[in-house]
Symmetry: C2
Subunit: 193 residues, 2 copies
Amino acid sequence: MGTRRRGEELERAILQAAAEELARSGYAGMTMDRVAARAGTNKNAIYRRWPHRAALGVAAYRHLSDVAMPNPDTGTLRGDALEMLRQANETWSSPHGAVLRSLLAAAADDPALLDLMRERSGADTMDRAWLAMLARAVARGEAPPTAVHPRVAAAPMMLLRAEYAMRGIPSVPDEVLIEIVDEVFLPLVRGRV
Amino acid sequence: MGTRRRGEELERAILQAAAEELARSGYAGMTMDRVAARAGTNKNAIYRRWPHRAALGVAAYRHLSDVAMPNPDTGTLRGDALEMLRQANETWSSPHGAVLRSLLAAAADDPALLDLMRERSGADTMDRAWLAMLARAVARGEAPPTAVHPRVAAAPMMLLRAEYAMRGIPSVPDEVLIEIVDEVFLPLVRGRV
DNA sequence: CCCTGTACGGTACTGCGCGTACCCTAAGGG
DNA sequence: CCCTTAGGGTACGCGCAGTACCGTACAGGG
């Protein structure tokens, strides 16, 4: 048979297959044999590139997602915060987000996965976006300067994440996002004198 | 050999063995074979009582834990909140908490486990304790009446939980608890006018 | 244009863990 | 005292991670 794929081409095929398996069965259901079969190759070619399943999982996730970091500027702190949460909620509810959640869940029992996820998680970038948002609010006189604080910036996303962890999974209703902003985030900003 | 255990006695022995395995290796590392061996019996006796590993895991967890709900009354809102967080942190850092976290992690991939855990999580009781705490602060004139709100009450524990999810595992340092109280919880209470 | 090293493909195998089947044997109630 | 019931011993079947071996196509240098 003429064409035997090599190098880049094969690697893309494997990542594609792994991503499809992730989307279909989650990380727990992604088996090396099925990935190999779907890619039309065998486990050898996979293990020659990634040392274990966790590495492949993270690589496949990276392959299908280049998440654009949102940076809304609606003119009000409330509008910006709500927009950030809505975009995050949308991302995490999507099939793509299901993959991410599945990886995060698995990471709790798999230190290798946890390390791999931490660097790629984009949490830092997210925090910076929130801090920038707060700085703009301060510049507008909408918030006291003391509101620009890492814990304040990280709180809303953490609450949203905890909401996901508590409910089964699917999607957090918009009312919850509004409550997080109106009952927690804005009072918190206001209270930091 | 004269004595062959039956019924209640055997069941307690199995649960005890399962709890010890949970404490030693977490849920992911609790194997049916080892539980059977430690209990001095075989998998037959286990599967006759619980349909699958998840059921045994939850049953074993219940067997070794009747968590006392803390209800501190230090005289100040700050003292109460810090005490609640410290006790939660201690519980979750303990072997017992490790078991709980391990079960929760596994629950993300195992719907049966998730259902079993939800009823036993004690989240409601926890929220009530925080609301009572806030009500006392209001009575002392330490907080505005509007601060008594479910989202406010739930926020600190959610932040602590998110902190656990982010870091690898072991224990959240006390400084973080203090920051959650001083930089988030108290300003939040103050800002709810 | 051949020759050789390297990567791919095929396959088989170890090790482990869940869940099941089968058969023998001790308990203990009628 | 016997007969049903439940425990004990053991051996499976199955699926999956990761490894080993070997033959073979491909690329690139001579």
